[in-house]
């Protein structure tokens, strides 16, 4: 089967790749572009470990085919920090011990960033429902929520 040529933007950089028409964006990122920060926990859109943004919208990259990325702007965990400067969501996850094994963490950080860009001051319930598509088996979510609220405050310019 002939491969499809795709041009898109990934973390701000114009990127070209060739993929099988049935290859997922997750597989393209991990296997062809070396961006292994996005994880596969289920391959069926249930766990959120592969979360990316597509034109700003939170998406499971395991449910999107490579050719669908044509012309799109994709954000992955590798693009969240600016150089060696961590994004507030990343630094608050560390400060609040919001990760144990760290496997779900990239997806949760991408999802949290997307939440806070849209809703700078979510209630606890809003944050919990937004993150309900990101499974974490280690933490019980408690410290994740603490990190989300601390990051929201930091992004609003309030001192934590």
């Amino acid at each position: 089967m002939a491969k499809t040529h795709v041009t898109c933007t990934i973390n701000g950089e114009e990127t070209e790749f060739l993929c099988d028409p049935n290859q997922t964006v997750l597989d393209v990122l991990r296997d062809d572009l070396g961006l292994t920060g996005s994880k596969e926990g289920c391959g069926s859109g249930d766990c959120g470990a592969c979360s990316i943004t597509v034109d700003g919208r939170l998406t499971c990259s395991c449910l999107m085919l490579g050719p669908e990325a044509e012309g799109k702007s994709i954000g992955t965990i590798e693009g969240v920090a600016t150089g060696d400067h961590l994004h507030p969501v990343q630094s608050q996850f560390l400060k609040h011990a919001a990760l144990q094994c760290g496997f779900c963490t990239p997806g949760l950080i991408v999802a949290t960033k997307a939440l806070l860009e849209k809703h700078p001051n979510p209630t606890d319930e809003e944050a919990r429902y937004w993150l309900a598509g990101n499974l974490c088996r280690c933490t019980g979510y408690d410290k994740i929520l603490a990190a989300v609220h601390a990051a929201a405050a930091e992004m609003r310019g309030e001192s934590a």
């Binding site: 289920c42 990760l99 144990q100 410290k143």
Partner: protein, 758 residues
Amino acid sequence: MNDISLKDALKVVGTRPVRPDGVDKVVGRAQFGGDATMPGMIFGATVRSPHAHARIKKINTAKAEALKGVKAVITAADMPEIVSEEAFVGEGPMNFRDLSNNLMARDKVLYDGHVVAAVAASSMSIAKAAAELVEVEYEVLPHVIDEIEAMADGAPVLHDDVFTAGVDPKPTKPSNVAKRVEFAKGDLAAGFAAADKIIERTYKTAPVHQAYIEPHACIAAYNADGQCTVICSSQGQFMVRAYCAKLLGIDISDIRVVPAEIGGGFGGKTLVYLEPLALALSRKAGRPVRMVMDRVDVFRGTGPTSGGTVKVKLGAKKDGTITAADAEIILQAGAYPGSPMGPAAMCCWAMYDIPNARAVGVDVVSNRPKVAAYRAPGAPISTFGTESAVDEMARELGLDPIEMRLKNAAKNGTKALYGPTFQNIGYVETLEAAKAHPNLQAKLGPNQGRGVATGFWFNIGGESSASLAVNEDGTLVLVSGSPDIGGSRASMAMMAAEILGIEVEHIRPIVGDTASVGFTFLTGGSRVTFATGMAVCEATNEVVKQLRGRAAKIWEIDVEAVEWRDGSAYPAGDNAGKFEPLSLADIAAKAARTGGPITAKGAVNAQGAGPGFGTHVVDVEVDPETGHVKVLRYTAVQDVGRAIHPSYVEGQIQGGTVQGIGWALNEEYIYTKDGRLDNASFLDYRVPVASDLPAIDAVLVEVPNPRHPFGAKGVGEVPIVPPMAAVANAICAATGVRMTSLPMSPPKLKAAIDAAGK
């Protein structure tokens, strides 16, 4: 040197620094099992049985081998036949032959999802296509899924060489009952005769999966010279090495296992599923082979923990004094013997000082995947029964559930039913802390109820190794053999920093591969902070001794006259004040002239792990229309000995508690009539999500364990023990309905409420 056993003197232990591996994990750079690559690697896939129980008549691999891009196909014929032998490599009972047959079925498949062949090809899509081309001819056999049905006369017998062990006389016929164990003390009949009230109940629990988010993954290379490298995520690189060596007939020294970051384990990664297959494929193909499971195969082919039946009989006086307690715990082992019925029996009454008690464990095979360890293996199942019964007794007698437990609580000097006499335990302290917690004063509304339950786990020690090396600039590298699942690198570095009197950031902790650190038993049993921590402390104390020796040499005084504090050597005694203190960096810079590199090793077989106890309080609201349970408040109190890094201790308690809430309310394996797993996805196997839960208040009680340099006890397993009973007790308080079967899912609870006419 400061007395590090005094909490007030601690400068690093008990603080909350950012974990040393943290940045890698928040920027997506951490390398997990499925992230590693090797030059020339190819991709492996498995062929799995669609039948619950069948004889393999023939396997034809010709079509698969003929597919372009296929490099190797293996079946059991490519694996050495292993003789029956007890293995003490992982957590819980295991037999090398059974493990081999579980990896790759030899004569019979014993469950839906049992591997029968594996293929390796130049791409994952070709490997999957080739797996479809492997033709397996089966003779389908009758199957049995439920443990009680498996025990019945006339049930399909899985193994013709399993004769119930632990009964006298030895049975003459094989059966699905693999083993019976019993722990007993006192006189049960007299104890029940002395009781004013007796409660007798049978409880059922469903098997639940560990449900780590990272599926099993590895990459393995078998070189032409017989040297093997395996990179994988597991709870023990030495465990993977031992199993691969044994199951493939390779010398241990020819295998190097490099631990990748591990994406959750909870006991489920204490054995192997893929690594020996990947090595066997690599041997045949002459290329490195990567294998990554998909989620469906994780559910069908790995874990879970047992489901089971728990029969409880409890007798007490009117004042709440328990006079007799009896429990029989019948656990599913899955396809091969080895359920955690032993610890289930040992743990279920351990919270209490009961004069007449018995706990019986029964191990039953059926056509399910072989069970694997899951957080406090067995204890949550048996304790769901016993702590539900204790709650019911308190309710019947009109007693407060915490007071009832205080009245019968195990204390220092109590001889546990399973043998040892407790020392330095903090059970009563957890009950008292729960009693004083604001959760108990919170007002409850209509359809709301409060439940209390407690739990116990032994915690273990065992073999661990660590090494510490002083770098040229006075910073240090700390290598240990324990895979870090929940932040243990942080706690290892913190203990070393405390002893050295330096900032934790000056120590870089890593997890060594099997060729770079001494043998270390796997991460499990809540042993790492305790046992590996002791190895780290031993290595660090030796480095401090060497540093004092180097300072003594520089000053030309006796080593006994050198004191180490706050990261520097000071002249002491008659020499006090005679020389300027030498910092770690000063001594490191002069290392070459004072004797060479400063390094030390710690190697321990740690004994004296302090047992752990927890008390949980939960408030729930039940929707009588739907049977849905909302958890409103949750307080989990636990004796942790001493929290090295309190955030990660709290995290263990919160995470374990939430797994318990999932076990209580949602999680279960559902089988079709023909024995196939019907809910092998995260959509249908419902683990708790953020919106299901309230904040989980983890309350740390510290009753130090004197056998550990800082007083640490294991913390990871206790928190999953009480939640199922705590939630059931809360549901009973809210509705008056006593649920005795897990999960307490909406349809089941709704039916129970309707049946009770409430």
